[in-house]
Subunit: 161 residues, 2 copies
DNA sequence: CGGAATGAGGAATTTTATTCCCTTTGAAAG
DNA sequence: CTTTCAAAGGGAATAAAATTCCTCATTCCG
């Protein structure tokens, strides 16, 4: 499905999606038309899910990241659905995982400062019934990237047998 | 610095940066030129740090997310620098935080499966001296967004006094 | 009451994306 | 071996979008 050329295209677009198709083509050794068609196809196929602008957290007053580990004794399907819907609606929650192990859910929350986190926390527990919440703050974001590793993408062989 | 209109522009671009400037202008009540200039300025000012394509993790064989909590007894400036450099070079590490509290560092790691995680883990500990590592796996990514909340951006008043 | 700065807009220009149509390649059928 | 078809690629025309250029209001000092 995805061959070596596609992978190189994805690598470029993951880093910077403003590079013109003609330039991408040049870098991967294709002319613009086939390169453009490959990109289109990957968008249709849902490999590329979107193109977004990234902002500097400091510049938009999102300097503090908190990780919130949630444990609950509620484990019904319905509860999870409601819980997920509530959480999803908080724009401060930028990531939300259901976990294996001790912790049931993990949130990454983005706020300007500890006070704002506290306000968020109060709004959160007002809305949902949680057994146990444990918050840890990040002091520094050393790395953050939206680029997924492409080394695990198995490129299709040009030929089989 | 950032006024209400800028904030609305950012909101649009955070969601989808392929929207034409003319259309953005229409939505925020500006013609294309001033809208374009505002976007340029926010890029120059570093508010917008880039535009990237997002990929479907499942489609690029990045189905498993692991959170790796690292504790160390090394706390020198030099060690951190070397550690950070090593970690940063792993494409599987998509996020990397220095934490407050018990855990010193937290990584989010993206791999195809548990076996690949194990291979990553071996490569990791081969390269750096870590006292304690604790890994938790995410069963499900319920929410993931690159959109930072803009509600905390204090819009400049058009006038003062 | 002048400008001078700031912000906005229309229209021309340039750059890119997109489409159309044709060529090449390679494998399978006959 | 040819023939045929499908998949990929490419060049050139066209459409759309970004970018530039110039002009027009408004406001704020001096």
């Amino acid at each position: 499905m995805i061959d070596r050329i596609d992978r190189r295209i994805l690598s470029i677009l993951q880093e910077d999606c403003t590079v013109p198709v003609a330039e991408i083509g040049r870098r991967v050794g294709l002319s613009t038309t086939p390169c453009w068609r490959r990109i289109q196809k990957m968008e249709e196929d849902g490999v590329i899910t979107g193109r977004v602008a990234l902002l500097d957290p400091a510049k938009v007053n999102a300097k503090v990241t908190a990780f919130v580990a949630i444990t609950t004794n509620q484990h019904t399907e319905d509860w999870l659905k409601k819980f997920a819907d509530v959480i999803r609606d908080f724009p401060e929650v930028v990531e939300f995982y259901r976990m294996a192990g001790q912790v049931d859910y993990l949130l990454r929350v983005t706020v300007p400062d500890i006070a704002a986190y506290d306000a968020f926390y109060k709004r959160l527990i007002a809305k949902i019934d949680i057994t146990d919440v444990s918050t840890t703050f990040a002091m520094e974001q050393i790395k953050y990237t939206t680029e997924l590793p492409l080394s695990y993408v198995v490129p299709e062989k040009p030929k089989a047998d």
